[in-house]
C-alpha cells in the first residue's frame, strides 16, 4: 500500500520571482499539488505529491526545483 509520511523539509522549491504563470506544472501534476493564484503558481497540496519530478522538467522558466525527500518520508510505494 502506498502511503505518505510527512516530509520535514520543503522538497519542492518554487521561485515566485521566476514563475511566469504558464500553468504547465498544474497541467502535468497528477496529484494537484499546484494552484494558480494571482497569475503565479503556488504549492497548495504538497502532501499529495507523487514525487515524479515532472513539474521541474516542464517548467520552462526554471522556477521549480524538486529534491527527493529523505528515505521513509514522502510517498512510499509498495508496488513501484
Amino acid at each position: 500500500m502506498s502511503r505518505w509520511n510527512k516530509v520535514p523539509e520543503s522538497f519542492i522549491i518554487l521561485d515566485q520571482e521566476k514563475c511566469t504563470g504558464c500553468g504547465n506544472c498544474i497541467i502535468i501534476c497528477g496529484a494537484n499539488v499546484f494552484e494558480l493564484k494571482d497569475k503565479k503558481a503556488v504549492i497548495s497540496n504538497l502532501n499529495e505529491c507523487l514525487e515524479c519530478g515532472n513539474c521541474e522538467v516542464v517548467c520552462q522558466a526554471d522556477a521549480i526545483q524538486v529534491h527527493i525527500p529523505q528515505a521513509g518520508t514522502g510517498i512510499i510505494y509498495e508496488c513501484g
Binding site: S2, N54, V57, H67
Partner: protein, 482 residues
Amino acid sequence: MIYDVIIVGAGSNGSTAAYFLAKEGFKVLILEAGNTPGDKCHGATEYAPGIIFHSRPELVALQLKVIKQIPHLHPGDLGKAHYYYYVNKDNEVVFKSCSVAPGTTGAEESYGVNNQEFVRVLTEEAVKAGAELRTTTKVTDVLRQGDVIKGVITEDGDEIQSRLTIGADGRISTVAKKAGLLKKWDINVCCYHYGEAWKFRSDEEMFEYVEHARHMFFGPTLTPPKPWGACTMGLRPGGIVTVNAPTSWTPLSSMIAAKNNSRHVYIQNLYKLMEVKRMLRVCEGFPHKPYQRQSTFLPGPPLEKPYMAGLIICGDAGAVGGICSTGEKAARYVTPLLQSDDLSDKALAGYTTARYRTDIARDEKSKKNKPTHELSEVSPTRIVHWSTGAGYMEKYDCSIDEMVENMRLAAVPHIMGAPNPQKCGEFGYIDMGAWLIAVKMSHLLKLYGPILQDPTMFPQIMKWVQKNEQSFNEKKVFDHPF
C-alpha cells in the same frame, strides 16, 4: 582508498549492477540514502517482468534467486490479462481491443512481489557477492576533476573516490543533475502517464473478472486535444488492477494545448465508465480509494547523455526503465572497460545503445540490418519491425503473410503500435520482449482484427489507417480515427 565502482542508490538497478560487478571481483561500494535499501522505491513496476523480458540467463537466475526468498509470493501468469478500452467523447466504450488470441503469454514467469522486499533481498545478494553497502548515506554532489567524475561527495562532506561512478538514484537523480547531464525535456516528445491501482480482496474475485484478455497498445494515436481517448486496464500479478488514464502517451504539448481536456478530466471520465466501475466494485476500498497512484513521465527524465568520463547513469535515472535490466547491462558494459582502465567519455559512449540491447556480443556480429536490428535482436518471435518484418522474417525465412499467420498461432501477447520504431528504441521499450513493435496498422489488423470485439469498427479503422499510414513516421500526434 579508491573504489573501482561507486554505485549511488541501492535500488533494483543499482543493486543488480553491484552484484554483477562484485562478482567480477571489483571493489564496489553502494551508497544508499535510506536506512534500508528499498525505503524509497520509485521503480516502475510491481512485479518482476525482468524475468521474462530480459532473457539473459544470469539475470533471470539472480531475479529468481531473490524472488524465492520473498514471502507472500503471488506466482502465476496473471500478467497476461489486460484490457484496453477505447472511449469516445461521451464516455462510451467504443470497443475493447483487448482480447488477443488465447494461448501462452509472454509472462511465463511473472510474480507479484513487494518492491521494497525485492530490492532489500537483491541488495543482500549484492553484499553477499562482495559489494560494500553504506546506508543512510546521501550523495549530494559528484567529485569532479576537470571533465572527469572521480567519485562522489556525501551529505556529511565526505569525498569518496572511485574509478567509475554509477548513478542509479532514481527519477530525480542527484548524480545526473550535479554532473550537468539533466536537461529540459522537449515537450513535444515527452509523454505523461498517470495510473491508479486497486487491489482485489481475494483471488476468487479476481479470477471472476479475468477473462481472456491481453493487452493491445496502439500507441500515441488517441490524444488530446480531442475530447476522447483510450485507457488501459490491466490485471497484474498479486491481484492488482491498474487503470491508466487515457493520457498515457500523450505528448505534453498536446496536454498544454488542451487545458480543458487535461488529465483531470480524463481521470474523472474514467471513473464513469461502466467497465471500470464493474471492475472496481470488487476491489478494496472502492470508490475513490485506490490502493496506489503513480504518475510518471515516459520515457523518464531527460538526459543529455547517460554517461560522461568516469560516470554512467542507469535505471530510472538514466531514462531507461526495466527492473534490474539496465543495471545488469551497465555492469556488463563497463566490466571490460574497468579491466582495461579506460573510462573515458569516448569509451563509455557505447553505453547509450548498449543499455537497450539484450546481448552486446551478438549485436556486434549482426550489423547488416542497421536501422532495425536493435528492435529485432531482442526476440524475433516477439518483436518485429512490421514494415520490414525484420527479425522474424529473417530468422524463419518466411513471407510477411506467413509471419502474420505464425504470429497469430504463437499468440503474441503484447502489442505496441509505434509510429516510429526508432523512437521506441530511444524510449527503451525494445527491452520489453513481450511487446511487438508495430508500424503498419494494416498488418496488425490482419493479425488481430477478427478478434477485436466490435467488428463494425473495422472499416473505419482501416480508412483511418490508410489515411494516416504515410504520416506514421512523421507525425507525433494523430487525430482519433472515429
